[in-house]
Chain length 209, copies 2
């Protein structure tokens, strides 16, 4: 009996890993576009019916979170606003909007890679997915390929910080050269007034996607 | 001083009423399509930049709540995922998804017509719009044209219940006629097994839109 259970568990874990890998692939597409790497897939009857990644800056729309894009795709594909026989895989714990959309769409099962301590709404700040006051609660499976999902985000923000530093160094150097040519030296406290690279001020906050 | 304040207050109330009337107009379009009557407008610099109504059944998409449609439109119009200088007018207190979208879009002010005791997420079940744990809180103005907004919903659900009863009566009558022709009488407990009118089972739940 224990052996059979073990085998079933292993099989399920393997399946979760398989779909989370697809969500990670999506997240990497976001990173390639300088967007916070968050990916999502929705699975139904063993098939991926929707996959997408965070495109908030590219689309200039708050609705372009990976989960919302996937839910829209899945509704279109199933011709139904209820996604009652679907499982959602997400690389990062959802925000309040996406958690709300999951409950509204009645998605019964959500598999999460990495948790988001500062802004996650599936247990970190609040657990919108499992509030008894609402007419739907989702089963939650956390930590699937959690290290990979976390590392992907940490790497992205570390790169962003490095780019930011480099940008400041370049701007300062350029300013010094201009001052040199003019025969003046900038005060040590002076900061270059150049604009920050597009997108950086928002993306540097992991809690806000 | 008091007089000036009074005047400013009256002017603001008049403005709120004006925009809420537009949201009510939208809600009535939903009712005309047999959708739960919920309407929304987004105002920026004294202009309506987005207006829409609940179209969840028509569009077969959970994302077709009035607020989400409006937020999508407003982002498109402003070319920005942040709606930081907008006011949203909604005839009914938002659900968890729409309240989440408002916070994510950083809408600073939300004006609500009628509250939704069973499922509202701007104070009734939970107040997602004003959680100190998140990086944005919205100012809330409640009860603007509240009676009109409430009556509109009550009327819609009363009509729906009446239609449902009439549908059952018609189905029962039809069944009796068939039985009569066959020379049998249906048992008193027998219920016609006809399908309920489309959309009714969902729409009869005001808390779920």
């Amino acid at each position: 009996m224990g052996f059979k259970e073990d085998r079933a568990e292993k099989k399920e874990k393997k399946l979760h890993d398989k779909y989370m890998k697809e969500a990670i692939k999506e997240a990497k597409k976001a990173a390639a576009n300088n967007e916070v790497p968050i990916g999502c897939v929705i699975v139904r009857d063993g098939k991926i019916i929707a996959k997408n990644h965070n495109r908030r800056n590219k689309d200039k729309s708050v609705l372009s979170h990976a989960e919302i894009l996937c839910i829209g795709e899945a509704c279109k594909k199933t011709h139904d606003w209820r996604l009652e026989d679907c499982t959602m895989y997400i690389t990062l714990e959802p925000c309040q909007m996406c958690a709300g959309a999951i409950v509204q769409a009645r998605i019964p099962r959500v598999v999460i890679g990495s948790m988001n301590a500062k802004a996650g709404c599936a247990g970190s700040v609040i657990n919108i997915l499992q509030m008894s006051e609402f007419n739907h609660q989702a089963e939650l499976i956390k930590g699937v390929m959690g290290e990979e999902c976390s590392a992907m985000l940490s790497d992205f923000f570390a790169n962003l910080r490095e780019e930011k530093k480099q940008f400041r160094r370049d701007a300062m150097e350029e300013m010094e050269q201009i001052m040199d040519r003019r025969g003046t030296v900038p005060a040590p406290s002076a900061e270059p007034s150049t604009a920050a690279p597009e997108n950086e001020s928002e993306s540097a906050e992991p809690e806000n996607k």
